[in-house]
Subunit: 424 residues, 4 copies
């Protein structure tokens, strides 16, 4: 599938008059529209290679069609998204699913699509065919040193591949934990994991980061060995300055205040990055902003406030990624919706009147504090997000463009209707 510039130009020209009217209105309503638009232009959200195909649950999987069959086609799909929204300029690979021999060709292909390689992801939650050691009872936590060593070496190999591609970070998500009381000695599991992470850390290049992801439950159902932000922070602090905590929105207990966690991790200079998605019950991996859009805004509110307080660069100092699973929607459409929701939340957070908020907080004017945040959230900032797309040559309405230009149909006709993206 090749989406040409003239496609987008025609799409945009049809919508331009309406867009400009909407943009004029919002520009007259908020004070720093131009600055917000520029930040939106700069902001890029990485797409994980495994989110390009249909997901599934333990009960089954219902394919769509035209899914990418290899890393080249995954890059092509992310390129399509980036072409459409101008905000998906990075891909996050998963090893071994995305292991490539032809590194130079892969790099060239990505460059051609304007993509960089975001954090690399290792996999120690599945056994690969003929794997020498099994991760059934954990990987970096395992009671058997030989299994730990196997998992450590895999992570080091992932770093190696990432170095070749120009990635700068390793994300370690561990499924390690236990399903029953008594199964694990929690302390020893922690210490084994720490020792394993130290070996991986030692293999990190100087300009790399390691992100220690946490998750409250699933696929283990009694305990997880990196179960919450507190545990992840313990690991990150013990590992050293290159280690950070990674927050995935779906990885919390019910009712957790994620925005506060974000604020405190920024305070501790240990927030490394984000996996965006949404959920109602558990790690449901739904489209970002589809269930709790106000929470997404509140999280961005803390991100903007906390990063600005530290003088951090919004684009580069944190890792931004989607991590979703698409069971009932076209994966690419779902990703376009997620990116849109994230950009909206970011734009809203940028438009918060911070001086007024600080003043209201300083006198405990709670009703006013609420008004200030709601003012930002209730304002329709979509024209700012659309304008950012327009300025990068992307589509004013990416999902509509995706449908108008029959992208999926062409992918199916090129790739077939029964393809399965590698991996899960």
């Amino acid at each position: 599938m090749k989406l040409e510039n003239y496609h987008l130009e025609s799409h945009n020209s049809e919508r331009l008059a309406k867009h400009e009217r909407q943009l004029d209105f919002i520009t007259s309503e908020i004070s720093d529209a131009q600055s917000i638009i520029q930040k939106l232009v700069d902001f890029q959200i990485a797409i994980p290679s495994w989110a390009l195909g249909t997901g599934g649950t333990r009960f089954g999987r219902f394919s769509s069609g035209g899914e990418p069959r290899n890393i080249e086609e995954k890059i092509e799909d992310v390129g399509l998204l980036h072409k459409l929204n101008g905000s998906s300029g990075a891909i996050s690979l998963h090893i071994p699913w995305d292991t490539a021999d032809n590194t130079n060709a892969i790099k060239a292909l990505a460059a051609q699509h304007g993509l960089r390689f975001d954090a690399m992801n290792s996999n120690t939650f599945q056994d690969q065919p003929d794997q020498a050691q099994s991760y059934k009872f954990g990987s970096l936590q395992h009671v058997d040193k030989a299994v730990r060593k196997h998992a450590i070496e895999h992570n080091i190999e992932v770093i190696r591949q990432g170095v070749e591609l120009g990635s700068k970070a390793l994300t370690v998500w561990l499924a390690d934990g236990s399903c029953f009381p008594g199964q694990l000695n929690f302390r020893k599991a922690f210490q084994n994991t720490l020792e394993s992470l130290r070996e991986i850390y030692a293999a990190l290049p100087n300009d790399w980061k390691i992100f220690v992801e946490y998750k409250a439950f699933e696929p283990n159902f009694y305990s997880t060995t990196v179960g919450d932000w507190g545990q992840s922070l313990l690991y990150a602090n013990k590992l050293g300055p290159k280690a950070y905590t990674l927050v995935d929105l779906g990885h919390h207990l019910p009712n957790a205040n994620i925005e506060q966690i974000v604020s405190l991790l920024l305070m501790e200079e240990k927030l490394g990055g984000f996996h965006f998605n949404d959920s109602k019950y558990g790690d449901d991996d739904l489209t970002a902003g589809s269930i709790k859009p106000y929470q997404l805004f509140l999280i961005f509110n803390e991100l903007v406030e906390g990063m600005d307080a530290r003088g951090m660069d919004h684009r580069e100092d944190l890792g931004w990624m989607i991590d979703a699973s698409h069971n009932v929607k076209d994966p690419l459409e779902d990703l376009l919706q997620s990116v849109e929701a994230i950009m909206i939340a970011y734009a809203q957070a940028l438009s918060v009147d911070r001086v007024a908020l600080q003043d209201a907080q300083a006198i405990n004017d709670v009703a006013r504090c609420q008004e200030i945040l709601q003012q930002a959230f209730r304002t329709d900032v979509r024209p700012l997000v659309a304008e950012a797309r327009l300025r990068t040559g992307a589509a004013l309405a990416p999902l509509e463009a995706f449908r108008t230009f029959k992208v999926r149909q062409e992918l199916i006709s090129n790739r077939g209707s029964k393809t399965v993206a590698t991996g899960l």
Copy 2:
């Protein structure tokens, strides 16, 4: 405190130009703005008498000042709210806290403020001084017939008072339940409660309704005898056509899908009314829309769809009420914020493109369904709500007006700074 028309006129005239610009924009964006505005003008949300003062928790209570000291002052406060927002034209009384001798004077006072009397609320969760029977172990569920009889008679007395005032409904919220396994025989507790409700039902005038409220927990911490919508519906069905289920947003287990409950109760013709508030953890009784505004919208989306499908009157066929507790905000400011949030959610729900939604649902176009709801939610409909206020002579910006005209200061100067609204 008397807020005069000229106050509001001056307030509005200062904001009129800006408002008209915003209204013009939104009117050009959505198709049926005038019809929505008219529905907003008609929509009224009752204010409960107990929400006019500062709330508290089991750990303490921090007063504000100028709280109403009696039913007259409570009516005055709701009158103030209604003057400011044009949408709070009803008061919901709580007996015995609001028992009045001078019914005619009270009715006249309410009429003067343009208020009607919404559902009456009985109280069998506290013992009043020198009460003959104690509700420590429940009221309508109690193992002792004498206690049940006492609680039944109280409810019948509440109906009697309501008839005098012109109310048309009784809301029964029971704190009944148990704190420990074994304390209750669940079946007998249900049957005692049903028998008691039947006696109350028998005392209802023909044009009255009884609302059976449910709540998952608190103040009982193991079981509640009307614990969820399923139990409430059982009671309502066994009682008869005048009995309905009442939904309070805070009375659910974590992650409950409240909008689906609303839809099914409407389907069963047993939804009676609503208590609006918001919460993050339990029955937190926070300002409506302050935590999960998208959920509030989704609930209104079901309400509008379900009521329209049955040809129900939005104004009259359900009972709409706020039930909140204000620990850190001025109670009147908080109520203004709640009403605003409710009106916004209602306006958004009215603006959903229902034909398009049905079409998308009919072909399982999930991404499109989501787009349609998000389109409504992301649109800034506040100018429609403001316009509805303008047309009824209320304030374009009620909270600002409340502050500009120093309403709270005047209430404090009239009533004192140490007043406590009767009740909790």
Copy 3:
């Protein structure tokens, strides 16, 4: 694998002296030991065919070995369990995974193992290869009549197969629901489902029951169309006297009071049966009693009280089944642990002093009520359960016997180490 009687006799004779000492002690401690033992002898818990192999999650699956490869081997495995514990005298089949041509041979095989055929389970949550209609967007709820018809016919076919085998019930678990707000019209989904269930109900033989299972979430993550006991009861009541609600312990929102639900469903004469398992977070499908054994006891406490109040037969009037998934344990060992935990909870519930409990409830002596339940729960009733096994010729210590006689090793040697039980 053939576990011979002499194996068990030798196993038991080694443990007999110790067992008799323990039995003497408990028999002297509680008043009606003999009656409890007889009820334990009679009590049988069905084993689902899909629980005989290793389960998995969406992240992967780690096999054990020697898993049954077909329905004959599944029957053999349940026969083994029943031989060991004397309490697993039924198998619950899942269609199409267990569809058999040779019904007579299958029936003879089951009879040979002393097994009857429990409720039949239909499957409309997966698409089978080359299936004419897809269940991606639901089955009995589907917007397309053709898909509903396909699912209805499948259920009728399952009844037909069950009739041949001598089963007496159909369990319908629907994965139907939605993943995103707006995807479904809840009311129409309910009505479509009801209409579909009515067609299935019409095909039920007179002596059959249909169990309508409910589940709060998963694999749909926004709504489910039979989401809680209230919805299931609505369906069951609308369907008629052969329709019942089925309770699976893992299918509730956090903190739900399941024992109260059980009590109320018994009161309404609509409790049909049970799926036992345990969980900490969601539908974790862990070993019964492994996480919340007191809850399991409290549920049996309501079952015994409620069934006795109605004069129901403990063995026959409800369907008892395990529904678990084994990710880190040997499936057969896990099932032995589940059955043991269920029998213990049942024995404890049988030993509750009901007269004393009623007396204490009647005077709200809450501390005493708690003491009475805790007395039953804290008593070590395992010798009663072991004695029941001894009397039926089963093993005093089933799990030890399973290991001593190297059952798994023999299964692996017979069947191979890479087998996968059909289905999930």
Copy 4:
């Protein structure tokens, strides 16, 4: 009320034969009964002064009678409990509710009852009459330095009073937090709190500890400033070696794995102490072990394992306290039940076969790990707990003794039926 030794002797002699039979049995069943009994004799659980009266909820309070009216009567009540169970040899005071002028007399009275003074508790969650600064918007976190200073000085005063009484620890539970998004800057709230705690820490005597308690929500309903163990640990680490985390069982989000938190805090040498209670929904403050007794056992399992691994003294190296609220039971009866449940869980944890467990963990024999824990939990260890009481001269059956000797009736006759324990 004076419970005399001869009362207890007569109580015990009536039960002795039965007790000895039960003790003989359990002693023959487990290997180290004598060592467990000795540890039970040594183990003491502090009673908080505020748990001696009836609690309440925001909806009301139903008194019992004979509640202690002052610190002397509170000490008398704890003395009674200790007389009955031999395990309640400490009282935990709450300032200002328990401020005493006559320190020496108070100390003498406590000594007479065999009680020591456990951790002191400060109160910055309520405004006392005529308090110069209000805690409405927090105390140690407050935006206003003057309020923080007021709260700091209160804590220092509590330390001063504790020093006089011979206490060795300060427990700081902060209600600080926020009710609405935007109300607080989380980072500044944390930093203000830390700065305040540092001033309190500086005032601690060398042999004192400070316990930083965490709580997920209530009385604030959006965020709390010490919200989870991770936050508490951050404070404790930044404060220094005398600062520790305190775990209250009711202060977690739904489904939290508390036993893992306990294990990790012990690993970090930062677990300070415990508040025991039980809950189903939130911080329900129910009787310990009344809802989730297996969880209580699992927590003690980690405590015993973790303390032994560090060579810690079970009696002295952690603070053990009950924190419950009694709405429907006699407070003293409830406390007797809580202590009994705690002692049972401790005895079960002591009886776990640790060597076998380590061996099973080392080979991932998950079924066996579960069996080992269940073996300990299912064993009826109550005779061991009773024997420990017998050896200290306390009652074999404390709750029965409390009733037989009509303790409550005598307290009511001495103190009256309308007393209210000071405080909440």
